[in-house]
Structure formats: C-alpha cells, structure tokens
C-alpha cells in the first residue's frame, strides 16, 4: 500500500477498526490526508465509507486504532470537541436546521465556533451577521439569506450544509457523498464550489463519493475501500490504472 507522506499529514488514521457485533464494517484502515489536498474515499456500496466517516467525525468510536489530527491524538473524542479542533463535516443526508433561516443557521454556526453559544447576556454582534452573509455569498446563497432552510431547493440545502461547515473555519472538511441525490447541474455547481474553496481558503477536503466522474475530476489523492479494507491508495492516475480497483468496480472477486 502506498503511503503519501504521513509526517505532514493533517489527518492520520492508523489501523482503524469498527465492529458491529461479529460484522467488521471497517477493518484496519490507515489513511493519510495531506494538508491543502482534495482526497477522495471511494468504494462500492457497503465498503465501509460511511462508517469510516462516522469514525473520523467522532460520531462512533473505533473498536481499535488511532486517529490523529495535526499531530494530536483525537481518538474517541466527542464530535463537538473535534469540531472545535477544526474538523467540520457535511453529511450524506443533508442536515440543516429546518425552521431557521439560512442566515440564522450560519449565525448559529459562527456563534458555536467563537465559543459564544453559552452567552445568554449579550446581543448579536454585527460582525456575526456580516460574516454570516459573507459565508452565504461564498456558497451562492446570498439572496436566500432570509429564506427558511426547509424551503430551499435540494441543491441549495446542500450548499447551506457546506456553508454551516465553512462557518466553523475548519482546517479539514469532511464531506460524505456531497453530491448524493443531485442533478448533473447541481453536482457540477457543488464540485466547483468545493474546488474553489480549497483554492481560495487553503482548506483540506476529504470526501466520499459514488460518482467516478466527480472523483477523478477533482481529487488529488484517492483511497479505495472494499469490504472494510483499503485495497488501493494513490493519485488519480495510479488508481485509474489499478487492476484490483477495476475488478472491484466491475463486480468480480478474482482480482
């Protein structure tokens, strides 16, 4: 297995294991995400992608293995602690605050980031509102600031989901199937958004994806999962040329 430089890795998962009863959903996954890169995790259905993301974001705890963020051990830390360390996520199913407006949603994210969520006594500072509007502009929702989140279109809800993650000013953005259920046009828009953010903000993005065009279109590094294990890791070109990967995606087991 190829290692892409673990010394400078922003996120380093080492031998992650997660069992559900006797079923091993993630079976010894080691992963290095280089800072400033776009890194994709691919694999057929049931390969363990979503479980891996849930492990990386602290929603579930690993049965074994270690997780390091910028050299700090974050194994078993709660999601809100990871968020404060600079790890933001967007979910496979869009998760937003249905009855808050787009602006309020992003304000809530900024308040959470600046550790003022427990502030009962003060007013909203103008800067929170200004920053929230700026983030909405970045994801192309500037005009829908006062629209309730549940009344946005599906694509706009995904964009709001990403805006919430961005508002926490993350070092690492984890996106679990960011284009799931999107039309081709919406997919293109989302991908341009992600690539643009990586360039303009120096973000690091780790995402899982079904759509191979999307994956090879923007990722620098790709890790391939199959039955809970990493079967290949490398650059887009290396993965494209990998026989085992092709075999898995063609659905045969004789690789």
């Amino acid at each position: 297995m190829k290692r892409d430089g673990d010394a400078g890795a922003l996120l380093h998962a080492h031998g992650l294991v997660r069992r559900f009863g006797s079923f091993c959903a993630v079976d010894g996954v080691t992963l290095h995400v280089a800072p400033g890169s776009i890194h994709a995790v691919i694999g057929p259905n049931g390969a363990g992608k979503t479980t891996l993301f849930r492990l990386l974001t602290g929603i579930i705890r690993p049965t074994a293995g270690r997780l390091m963020l910028a050299g700090e051990d974050i194994t078993g830390k709660a999601p809100h602690v990871l968020a404060r360390r600079g790890l933001a996520q967007s979910f496979q199913q869009t998760t937003i605050f249905p009855r808050l407006t787009a602006l309020e949603s992003v304000q809530a994210a900024i308040v959470a980031r600046s550790r003022r969520a427990g502030d009962l006594a003060s007013w909203f500072h103008r800067t929170v509102t200004a920053e929230a509007r700026q983030v909405l502009d970045q994801v192309g929702l500037g005009r829908q600031a006062d629209t309730r989140a549940d009344r946005l279109s599906h694509g706009d809800q995904r964009a709001l989901d990403v805006a919430l993650a961005l508002a926490t000013r993350p070092r690492l953005l984890l996106l679990d199937e960011p284009t799931a259920g999107m039309s081709a046009a919406e997919t293109g828009k989302t991908i341009r958004l992600i690539a643009g953010l990586v360039r303009s903000q120096g973000l690091t993005v780790l995402f899982s994806e079904h759509d191979m065009d999307v994956v090879f279109g923007i990722s620098e590094h790709i890790t391939v999962l199959h039955q809970g294990r990493v079967i290949a890791a490398g650059t887009a070109a290396q993965i494209r040329a990998n026989d085992e990967v092709n075999a898995v995606y063609l659905g045969s087991d004789d690789a």
């Binding site: 709660a78 009962l120 007013w123 909203f124 009344r151």
Partner: protein
C-alpha cells in the same frame, strides 16, 4: 437592528395597559388578573424548554412548587419575611433544576418527558408525606405577606412588575447567541453538535434558567393565594403550563402568556356556566394541535399572512413529523422572537 426593539416596545405598551387596569378593576377581577400574570411567567419559563428547546417537560411544577414552598416554609419554620422567601426561591429552584436536569436530560423525547413527570410525582409525594415539615396534604396557610402586598391592588402591581421584569430577562435570553443556539439544537441536535456545540451543556443551562423563573412564578403564586400545597408540585400542574404554551403558541415568545390569560379567564368564567370547562379546554387543545400548531398567537398573527405560504409546507410537515410549522416570520425578525413583531 431596530427590529429587536419592536417586541420590547410592544411589551412596554402591554405592561402599561395592564397597569392601568390595576386602577380600574375591582378586587376579585384583580385577583384573576394576578393569577394570570403569575401563570404567564410560569408558562413562558416552561416554554423556554418546550418551544425554544424542543424539550417537552412535565416537571416544571417541581420548580413552581419549590418557589411557593420557599416562601411558605421559610415563613413558617425560619420566620422569613416574604422578601427573603422570594430571594431564596430562584436559588433553590435553580439548584433543584440543576439536579433534575442532570438526570432527566440524559434521556430523549418520550423518556425525557416521562422522567420529568416522575420527578413531579416524586416532589408531590414528598410534600404530602413530610407532614411535620410541610403540613402534608393541607399545605401551609397563613398571613405570610407583608401588609404592603396583602392588598389586592398593591399585590397586583407587585406581581405585574416582577412578571414584566422576568419576562424581559427571559426574552433577552431568547434573543442572545444562546437563544439561537438553543433553537438550532431543537431543529437538529446532531448538526449542532457537529458545529461544536455541547448540546447537553446547553440544554442543562436552559433547564436551569427555566427552573429559576418557574420558581419565581411559584413565589408570586403566594402573593394571591397566601398558601402552598402539594398540588403545586404535581405533574398535572406541569401539564397546565405546557397546555398554556401550546394553546397560546409555543413558537412565539408571548404566546404562552396569552395562553395563561385564556386559561385563567376560562377557569374563572366558564366554571360559572359549566362544570365541564376542562372538557372545553381539552377540546380546544385538540383543535389547536391539529389545525393551528402555532397556537392563538399564530391565529392572530396577521403579519404572517403577508408571506405566501409555500407549496411544500404540507409535505415538510408530513416528513418532519415532529410538530407543526409556524408561518415564516417577517424576514428580518430577530432570533427567538418570532411573531413578536406582529404585536
């Protein structure tokens, strides 16, 4: 942000009108309004959990009762003045809320509701059984008020002033960064957690703040009843606060206060015409839950009509499944005070 001040101005006008009534109404009507004002604080404080936090608690009577008993037992056993009891009430209520919250908030949804209900029942049993301390089922009665508060008119002005002051503080809390965070937790706790919010910690803060103001409401109860008895701690008493919030409108700040007024007037005047007034209350609740989940405040909220109702509203409601949806407030409404701008 002038929009923020509009509800505050509305509140001031309302308080002035209610103060004016203090000079014109007779003693018995004043007692009714007195009760409505105290219950309004109880209902709004409860709604901080139910409406803003999405935490349906059937245990807020624990803190309401503690407020009343702080005054009554302090007077009986420690020879406290009413003022000492009133000062102790929020401290004792807040401390009790911290303990109850630490336990009950470990559970979610139905189990949270049942746990809080169990605490209410527990508090009721304790008050009823500790005869030597609480007077058991008889409760504590007596002249525990200073002369200055014992008059219906002065009592009314006092309750009104304390209620208005407390409502202003609670409203401020709902408009703070904390208030928005609380609503975001209500909408999607996992997402809030992913943004870095300690969900349990914030729900606990909300629980304690609610407990503090429920206790103050309980201490106000003594002003117009001069008594404290176990039923104040009972879960049915908690249920009344939830009823008031739902009837009045749990997605508006003052909706529950409106609910308290309707409830009190209903109790006072319907009871003269029919023994079945609780049946009418129940029917009203069913109708509101089915057809206007945003309550009476939503029915009267004409401002909401100016926004077109989106076609998707019905399906969102069906998909969300947890509760009805209020009409979208005016575009620039401040966080946490939906509907207030309508006043």
């Amino acid at each position: 942000m002038t929009a923020v001040w509009r509800p505050a101005a509305g509140l001031a006008v309302l308080a002035a009108a209610l103060a004016g009534l203090g000079f014109t109404l007779g003693a018995s009507q004043l007692l009714t309004l007195n009760e409505a004002a105290g219950l309004a604080l109880f209902a709004v404080a409860t709604n901080l959990l139910v409406g803003y936090g999405g935490l349906v608690s059937f245990g807020q009577a624990v803190f309401y009762g503690i407020g009343a008993y702080s005054v009554a037992l302090g007077w009986e056993h420690l020879h406290w003045s009413y003022w000492e009891g009133l000062a102790a009430a929020p401290l004792l209520g807040g401390a009790a809320a911290l303990v109850v919250g630490l336990i009950a908030l470990r559970a979610r949804f139905l189990y949270f509701a049942l746990l809080t209900l169990a605490f209410s029942q527990l508090a009721y049993e304790i008050a009823e059984n500790q005869y030597h301390l609480t007077g058991g089922a008889n409760g504590v009665f007596g002249a525990m008020l200073p002369v200055s508060l014992a008059q219906p008119r002065t009592g009314y002005f006092f309750v009104l002033a304390v209620t208005a002051g407390c409502l202003a503080i609670v409203w401020k809390v709902t408009a703070s960064p904390f208030g928005l965070t609380l609503r975001s937790i209500r909408e999607n706790r996992h997402r809030a957690e992913a943004l870095g919010v300690n969900v349990f910690g914030h729900e606990l803060i909300a629980f304690v703040v609610s407990g503090v103001f429920c206790s103050v409401a309980g201490a106000l109860f003594v002003v117009y009843s001069q008594s404290a008895y176990p039923e104040l701690l009972d879960w049915t008493q908690s249920g009344y606060a939830v009823f008031m919030a739902v009837i009045g409108g749990m997605f508006t700040f003052l909706g529950p206060a409106l609910g308290a007024l309707v409830y009190t007037l209903g109790q006072q005047y319907l009871v003269a015409h029919t023994t079945q007034w609780q049946l009418i209350l129940g029917a009203a609740l069913v109708l509101i839950a089915l057809f206007r989940p945003d309550g009476l405040a939503g029915v009267s909220g004409l401002a909401a009509r100016r926004l077109p109702r989106p076609r998707l509203a019905r399906s969102t409601l069906a998909a969300g499944g947890e509760d009805g949806e209020p009409d979208g407030g005016p575009a620039k409404r401040p966080p946490g005070v939906a509907g207030e701008a309508r006043r």
